[in-house]
Symmetry: C2
Subunit: 332 residues, 2 copies
């Protein structure tokens, strides 16, 4: 198996002085990147880094151990909880922990979405859930879905929240404010950061699908983000991309631009994305082993598979089916 970030940068751009072709960057910007690169100091992230495994190592190991490309998204909505828990925001931890217990051997990662906790003053429950996941599924990395995007000094605070407070192994980010809104997360060596690239919601077209006149080759905005993430922004091989499952052709386009980045792909299941088409478009590997993997997220279809007492069994059944569909679609 190829280690994507086994101690050496995957894209050692600032060592070789090379840039990805077709990327328009000013000298000022390159110098800015260099400076950031040089002044980076390793910060020991919480928990996992101690074991020496970075996010991509963990992801590969979980993918292998559980034979899975499936990520279960933890978007707890008390109104959808099964009888006994229904409507009770104090049961968010209990519900999510039971889903984790039922699926820990079936997933390559978990993805708690922080808004669903914040809306219910449930940050304490999220902290407990993170601990629970580390305890019962120590081999499964956790992606905190927060889509943060802010200037450097504020980004540092958000990075502390994600990696120190919650001990997440990776986080989702918005690229709208540019490089220096991403860089602070990369100072946490070994942690992953997934940039929003092409989202599958109806409004995803509004900005992401615009064609850029001012960049060589006139890429679409999302293609430009993919180039930046595969190239000059990916200082230590920590970046990935978020690409919606609705349009497999766009997953394939992103994969062509970013051959090795892990793609986090929401939208399979309740949102209608096709599991097999997603894997075919996005997964790359040899002999069944990933060289450019996909993390296919399903949230509601798993969490709310049943509203009865059998919700854990039902969640496990759906997770198993989805895992097997995804696995079967991998070219061997």
């Amino acid at each position: 198996m190829r280690k994507l970030n086994g101690g050496k940068p995957v894209m050692p751009i600032f060592m070789t002085g090379q840039l990805m072709p077709q990327i328009t960057v000013s000298k000022i910007k390159i110098s800015h990147w260099r400076e950031e690169s040089l002044c980076m100091e390793g910060i020991l992230g919480a928990n996992r880094k101690i074991s020496g495994m970075n996010f991509l190592d963990m992801l590969s190991a979980a993918e292998r151990q559980n034979g899975s490309l499936l990520c279960v998204g933890l978007d707890p909505e008390p109104t959808k909880f099964p009888a006994g828990l229904k409507g009770d925001a104090n049961k968010i931890y209990d519900f999510c922990a039971r889903i984790v217990d039922a699926t820990a051997d079936l997933v390559s990662s978990y993805k708690p979405q922080i808004a669903y906790f914040a809306a219910h003053r449930a940050e304490g429950q999220l902290e407990r859930l993170m601990e629970h996941m580390r305890r019962v599924a120590p081999h499964v990395p956790i992606i905190l879905d927060a889509k943060r995007g802010d200037i450097g000094s504020t980004a540092e605070q958000y990075a502390k929240e994600a990696f120190e407070r919650y001990g997440a192994d990776a986080v989702t980010l918005s690229p709208f404010m540019g490089w220096d809104s991403v860089a602070p997360y990369l100072k946490f060596y070994g942690k992953g950061a997934f940039l929003l690239c092409r989202t599958s919601n109806p409004g995803g077209d509004d900005l992401q699908n615009q064609r850029l006149a001012s960049v060589d080759g006139q890429p679409l905005l999302y293609e430009h983000v993919a180039r930046l993430a595969q190239g000059p922004w990916n200082l230590n091989g920590q970046l990935g991309l978020v690409v919606g499952a609705t349009y497999p052709a766009e997953i394939a386009r992103v994969r062509a631009i970013a051959p090795t980045l892990p793609l986090l792909i929401p939208g399979v299941g309740a949102q209608g994305g096709d599991a097999a088409a997603t894997v075919l478009a996005g997964w790359r590997g040899q002999g069944g082993v990933s060289t450019g993997t996909v993390i296919v997220n399903s949230s509601r279809a798993v969490l709310y598979a049943s509203s009865g007492d059998d919700f854990e069994t039902a969640a496990r059944r759906v997770a198993l089916q989805t895992r097997d569909q995804l696995q079967a679609a991998k070219p061997q």
Copy 2:
């Protein structure tokens, strides 16, 4: 004084069927917007809505009452706190509340930045601070700086967090995921939403300053966001824009595209933006009364004006100076 949103939509686009010139929208997208518009149900936001004042009413009233265009940004960093509070994350509320007490008659708004609370597990302190501001400065609106940006169902959770849990009067948002990541906030009638448009950090150029080949007139990305916010996205006059203070020419450009939207302008003070140039570029009004106002944010220059026991006096002095500079720059 012209009420920007006194019960009637400022831009009743979907009543007249007119669209802003030069905005490229597909029929599908218009129909999507219409549908959203029609199915919107008024949701009573926390606290302020009860008094019948919406965000823009409150902002105008505070601007008039305090003779101010100044927003004090609340970005608490315990390491920068004065002696006696320094380094103690449990004193975040105390520090911020004392800054508020010292400046409540000098500002048109406050802007707590949520990352600085979340990094320290201080959501409870933020809740108390919001209550404190409503009590000692009931005439001053509060903008929760969170820069959220996510799909509809998740955006609903973030909107609940901002408007119900914290009782904010407005929130900052990222437009990267498009219209349906913004719409859920507008269902909270009377609440404001500021979209990131042109940010003044070094990486602000990376995406925002790209020229769009696929939109009529080939605007820059940030100009396109300004058009959308002034035009088809602004269903009920609730939108504003975030524009950095570093480049007054770009503030003027945004103002030309969005003549009536409130502009939230960070970067004056510690970040080096020039107060007078900012007002000249962005503020529009007659007889000293705003028709297109600016909300000029200063955070660190006010908060950390002194590291001694006199920090409240020093904060007040800097806030007063900045307020007077801004006020003096308003054309009469």
